[in-house]
Symmetry: C2
Subunit: 145 residues, 2 copies
DNA sequence: TTGGTTGCAAATCGTTTGCATCCCG
DNA sequence: CGGGATGCAAACGATTTGCAACCAA
């Protein structure tokens, strides 16, 4: 897959998202740091790149991306913070290191069969789910002795 | 299983939790409304029962229960709120109606095999996970036409 | 040009904390 | 009696909002 800035912006455009500096910036930070980022981390990354964005704008842009289905919003365990990650085709989940926050994608989603079973049993209309698995990555396990 | 107030208090006692009015109150509300409750909902329920408890106390009591492994803390999707539920033996998850907030337990936990696979593949030490499934219950589906 | 987008500052919401008082063991 | 538990009020951190200025189409 080609990965130029133009491609990314074109991708946003295709999803009905007007190109602006903050939107491109947030989107490119999310793509570059493929994984899970908080609004704070996005802000810090932008600052390190010499860009300035307002926090409110970051939140508004993220909300827009979530609405358009480009980004998934979830929670980081043990904090009060929301975290955001780019939605992948095929719907992946995250394995998250509780120490260094590194993430590994778990795909494909192992839950579709389970959902069908549950829908049949409970007569719920299932619209989504949330799955995260927490642990410690090999590196952090070493450091932690 | 017997369910008298004394039994509930004895249960807390066994877990090293000193019996106080707020603790018994919160615990009994959680047991009565078997499912998922926010701090706010616990507070409202208490008020409806003619009891008064301070919000700080509710949070402190809930934190204590979580520490002792009696209660699980998670997030309600689409809100910024934490929600709390009694931990069942065998580790259950929730199917949550997005409209009326009714919950259905999903048990046993369908993830233990998956966790083993993932641990083997990634060399992570897995310490926990978070799974919730969202949808609309039969009643709400009718109401929503 | 012009309606959507941004930055700023202030408000909001859920949650946490310091401290004096209270109550269980 | 004494230490932990509570209530109160104030602090806190993350997120949201109103509004005026701005900018992409």
């Amino acid at each position: 897959m080609a990965c130029s800035l133009e491609d990314h912006r074109e991708y946003l455009h295709q999803h009905g998202i007007k190109s602006t500096r903050p939107r491109n910036l947030v989107w490119e930070i999310l793509l570059t740091h493929d994984g899970i980022l908080s609004a704070e981390e996005i802000y810090q990354t932008a600052v390190q790149q010499g860009e300035t964005v307002n926090f409110s704008t970051i939140y508004r842009v993220l909300e827009l991306f979530v609405e358009k289905g480009l980004v998934e919003k979830s929670f980081f365990p043990g904090t009060q913070k929301n975290v955001f990650s780019v939605c992948h085709v095929g719907h992946t989940h995250h394995l998250i290191c509780l120490r260094c926050h590194k993430t590994v994608d778990i795909s494909p989603c192992p839950l579709s069969d389970l959902e069908k079973q549950i829908a049949a049993k409970t007569d719920f209309q299932i619209v989504g789910h949330h799955l995260e698995i927490y642990g410690y990555c090999p590196e952090c396990r070493k450091i932690m002795k």
